[in-house]
């Protein structure tokens, strides 16, 4: 079923209604529209209702433009709306992965009763690639919490209002335990040519694909660069970065922003190694040659100079 809403605000609330009665439901927009949906995403988190929200990021702030960008990373990974919550964020880098992660997003949403965001960008949003659809799951999970009229049983109420402060605190800590479980079970990333890498690039989504092309170039000249591509942006693949930091001293963060995921890389590395940042905000899509130049320079400055 598809329903066009009058606004993003209405759309996310239609999603809440449909989710509350047990439907698998999603909504999609681009950056400014996602800001409007944040009120409802906060309510979904409070209600503990599953839903999938797709953000195809564009240049900002404000209306910005409609070119590919990654400036909504903070908004996506820090909850986005008001209140003490997190939203799992999946970052596909190909059209195949868009399909795969959409299936996964619904499963995570249902399993943990949480809104899940798929964070793409204007490049992925307009890309055409062949796709093999995964097998649909045979049976959707039971949702014993869903409203369907009380029938002969007791009435139920889905709410986020908890006026008693100690009850609200208990609710918040319960959410934290859920987020810890998600962090333990759902963190995912891809490592590319990291086995012998002396420099590791960190990039997600479209930027990661550009970084891969750059790595292929510099590898031809014997520059040992690898890539770590977070697939979940929250939870962030901190364990993978910490493991790499045991033998790699030089990290390069590529983003189509002025440095947002950069902060998660710095937090994950806890001061180990050096971190160089290269970002192109505003809808400018960097080229493989541009990234390659950064990697060559990093190699000359950090690796060759110290060997």
């Amino acid at each position: 079923m598809f329903l066009q809403s009058e606004s993003e605000t209405a759309a996310i609330n239609m999603v809440i209604g449909a989710s509350a009665v047990g439907a698998r439901v999603m909504t999609s927009s681009s950056s400014p529209g996602i800001s409007l949906k944040q009120e409802g995403i906060s309510f979904l988190a409070g209600f503990q209702l599953p839903a999938v929200i797709v953000n195809v990021m564009r240049g900002g702030p404000g209306l910005g433009n409609i070119a590919p960008a990654q400036g909504d990373y903070f908004q996506a990974t820090r909850g986005g709306g008001h209140g003490d919550y997190r939203t799992p964020v999946l970052a596909p880098a190909s059209v195949q992965e868009v399909a795969d992660l959409t299936y996964k997003a619904f499963d995570i949403a249902d399993h943990y009763r949480t809104p899940v965001m798929i964070l793409g960008d204007g490049m992925l949003g307009q890309m055409k690639e062949p796709v093999v659809f995964p097998e649909p799951i045979a049976k959707l999970p039971e949702k014993d919490w869903a409203l369907h009229g009380r029938g002969d049983g007791p009435s139920r109420y889905l709410a986020s209002l908890i006026l008693d402060t100690t009850e609200m605190e208990r609710h918040n800590w319960m959410l934290v335990r859920k987020y810890q479980e998600i962090t333990a079970n759902e963190t995912s990333w891809e490592e590319y040519m990291t086995q012998d890498a002396q420099i590791v690039a960190v990039a997600y989504g479209t930027t990661a694909r550009i970084a891969k092309a750059a790595i292929k170039r510099v590898r031809k000249d014997g520059v040992p660069v690898g890539l770590i591509r977070p697939i979940t942006l929250w939870p962030f693949p901190t364990p993978a970065l910490q493991e790499l930091a045991r033998r790699v001293n030089s990290f390069v963060v590529f983003e189509m922003s002025t440095g947002q995921m950069l902060e998660d890389v710095l937090l994950s590395l806890e001061g180990k190694g050096t971190v160089h940042f290269h970002g192109r905000p505003g809808g400018v899509v960097p080229t493989p040659a541009e990234f390659a130049r950064i990697l060559y320079r990093e190699y000359q400055l950090k690796v060759k100079a110290s060997s």
Partner: protein, 250 residues
């Protein structure tokens, strides 16, 4: 022997109301509960309740309920009814909720002719937050945010939102009623019954606006408030059927 003052089946029993003395919410809650029982709808009902005083309606109505963010009730109800058309779905909203922050959701759910019922409690102020001016505040009426009385030059005019949506083809039934006396309460029950029946019959969207006293924020006694509804409020918001497009069934 029948206990005459017992709560109806879909009203929680032995609850103490948080609503102020003379407030109209408790009356409308009871009417809704009675009708859900009389029309045999309670088992398959999902109610969307608002932000505002009636956010606590779940303490009284003994049916499945979903809390809404301020003003978003009819969007949520849309989501519910579209995926579960077998459910009976109504929203319960105040004037701040339905006619201010939720204006867009109200207008567009009505214009789509969603098969839902809207119970609209109009007390001409923001009740829960302490009596600020609402879109429905009468001209000259003093509120905490219009201390000199509502002046149309600066604060605009009372918004007749029910009249607006009544003009839409998708709105099958709209009526304005009041709860400031036994006869008015009976008329309100009849109106809500008609609205509920519209959904049962698959006719479409219905809205009942209830002029409801708010003695606390009106700075009046309950008795004065009841009189004020008749003497002042009904002059601005006359009672009656605003549209009736019921046909022979869908």
């Amino acid at each position: 022997m029948k206990l005459l003052n017992a709560f109806p089946k879909y009203h929680k029993q032995n609850v103490v109301s948080h609503y102020c003395p003379g407030c109209g919410h408790g009356i409308v809650h009871r009417l809704v509960a009675e009708l859900l029982e009389e029309m045999d709808l309670g088992k398959r009902t999902v109610c969307v309740n608002p932000a505002g005083c009636a956010v606590l309606a779940y303490k009284y109505l003994d049916i499945d309920m979903l809390e809404s963010a301020h003003g978003r009730g009819t969007a949520m109800a849309t989501g519910i009814k579209r995926v579960r058309p077998d459910l009976f779905v109504f929203t319960y909203q105040g004037d701040g909720d339905l006619a201010a922050i939720g204006t867009a959701e109200t207008i567009h759910s009505a214009n789509r002719g969603e098969h839902i019922c809207v119970i609209f409690i109009n007390n001409a102020v923001y009740g829960m937050t302490g009596g600020q001016m609402a879109p429905t505040t009468l001209l000259g009426m003093k509120t905490t945010t219009s201390p000199g009385g509502r002046n149309p030059r600066f604060e605009g005019y009372p918004l007749h939102i029910t009249d607006v949506v009544a003009s839409f083809p998708g709105v099958v039934y709209a009526e304005r009623v009041a709860v400031n006396g036994p006869a008015a309460v009976q008329k309100t029950k009849k109106a809500i019954r008609t609205a509920f029946q519209c959904q049962v019959d698959g006719q479409g969207y219905s809205i009942i606006e209830v002029l409801s006293p708010c003695p606390t924020n009106w700075k009046k006694t309950p008795k004065e408030s009841f009189e004020w509804v008749s003497e002042v409020m009904m002059k601005e918001f006359p009672l009656g059927v605003l549209t009736d497009k019921r046909g022979g069934g869908a």
